[in-house]
């Protein structure tokens, strides 16, 4: 018989269960299988009721984020073989700090609202008409924000952030990093509009710089960096408004 590996998957049915519980499955251990392949194997061959989100299988869509052995991971990029040597089963749980709808599916409306609150789009004081041509940008200007633009909204950073766990009002790593992505874009003029949301207590100042958001980010966005850099910007702006109120827009 081929080699197998055990998966302990957290199951929760809102109709039947008052609390979630682990269910154990044996799946084939294949060198080229990721945790998501194992979950799909379970759904196709063992238990069709297992519920989870996934789409692209290639680390772009950001929908298959789960806790694997207590760490936030994209399950499409987490190989089963890296857990093969451990004696205990691989534990798969829904993303931490989010309410669970069913099995491994979490409620993300809160994140969606926060994403919108920071206005992650180009804001112009005066839109150019199409006949005037496009907004030109140099490679150097692109480089200033490119890292922050790589975010795929997978929310692993939220699951790594104890501040978000303890204070769900915190706007959170990804939303702030995306705000910075637009603040640092040479074509954008909306930084002062985002400041109201970012510079409040539940914005950057709730962050205590645990730094785990940056470590778990599968796209190397560095949200912790974005937040600390914005703290400096916000502090300078505050001093400016205090010392030179006439310089404000």
């Amino acid at each position: 018989m081929a080699e197998t590996i055990s998966l302990e998957v957290l199951r929760y049915s809102p109709e039947r269960d008052s609390d979630p519980s682990f269910q154990c499955y044996e799946v084939p251990l294949r060198k080229d299988w990721v945790v998501l392949d194992a979950l799909n194997y379970i759904k196709d061959e063992v238990d069709g009721s297992l519920t989870f989100r996934w789409s692209c299988r290639m680390g772009i869509c950001g929908s298959c984020g789960m806790m694997v052995n207590g760490e936030p991971k994209l399950t499409c990029a987490t190989f089963l073989s890296s857990y093969a040597r451990e004696k205990r089963p691989v534990r798969v749980q829904p993303l931490r700090y989010f309410p669970v709808i069913r099995d491994l599916v979490v409620e993300i409306t809160d994140f969606m609202n926060k994403l919108q609150a920071v206005k992650p789009w180009l804001i112009r004081d005066q839109e150019k008409s199409p006949s005037e041509g496009e907004y030109i940008q140099t490679p150097e200007q692109l480089d200033r924000y490119k890292q922050f633009s790589m975010c795929i909204n997978c929310m692993l950073c939220y699951a790594a952030c104890p501040v978000y766990g303890l204070d769900p009002l915190f706007i959170g790593p990804a939303a702030i990093a995306l705000a910075q992505r637009y603040n640092m874009d040479s074509r954008d003029e909306g930084a002062h509009e985002r400041m109201d949301v970012l510079a409040q207590h539940e914005g950057i100042w709730a962050c205590t710089f645990v730094g785990e958001c940056t470590k778990v980010c599968p796209k190397h966005v560095d949200p912790a960096g974005a937040i600390q850099q914005y703290k400096l910007t916000a502090a300078i702006e505050r001093f400016k408004s205090f010392l030179m109120p006439w310089a404000l827009k």
């Binding site: 809102p14 669970v100 766990g165 109201d196 205590t208 710089f209 940056t214 960096g225």
Partner: protein, 146 residues
């Protein structure tokens, strides 16, 4: 001007109304024991208490110094109290821990650009350590000179 969004996120966390029931895990008071990175974070935060104690000792020393040789001798005697020695040893550890952990995260907070390119992380960390070493050498020079 406070925008509507700003006030809304302040008031409450909004979830969709289509899920009448879901499971929400309770965050344990001991969440920071769940892994070394979180424990390290809490230790780094706690180290500020010892940094504050270090500042208090320094201020007491300056006060003793300004009150003359007798007061300073009494201060030195107080420093030799085994409990104070133990506390200062722990403080020494935490002050170094505080400095090292903050130096290591400095590149996250400082995005310095030079000739259009971002200065690599090891350089920013390195400059902090070099400055630390240089200032320490000056202090040692002062101590050795006297």
């Amino acid at each position: 001007m406070k925008t509507r969004e700003a006030r809304d996120t302040r008031q409450t966390v909004r979830y969709t109304e289509y899920h009448p029931r879901w499971y929400r895990a309770h965050v344990s008071t001991w969440w920071w024991l769940a892994g070394w990175p979180y424990l390290k974070f809490i230790l780094r935060e706690m180290s500020s208490v010892f940094v504050a104690w270090f500042v208090v000792v320094l201020l007491l020393q300056i006060r003793a110094l300004s009150r003359g040789p007798e007061a300073y001798a009494a201060f030195e005697l107080w420093l030799q109290n085994p409990l104070i020695v133990l506390l200062n040893l722990i403080t020494q550890f935490f002050v170094i821990f505080h400095a090292v952990t903050w130096f290591n995260v400095a590149p996250r907070a400082m995005a310095i650009r030079f000739r259009g390119k971002r200065v690599p992380d090891p350089w920013i960390v390195g400059v902090n350590y070099v400055a630390w070493a240089a200032i320490s050498l000056v202090v040692v020079w002062f101590l050795v000179r006297s």
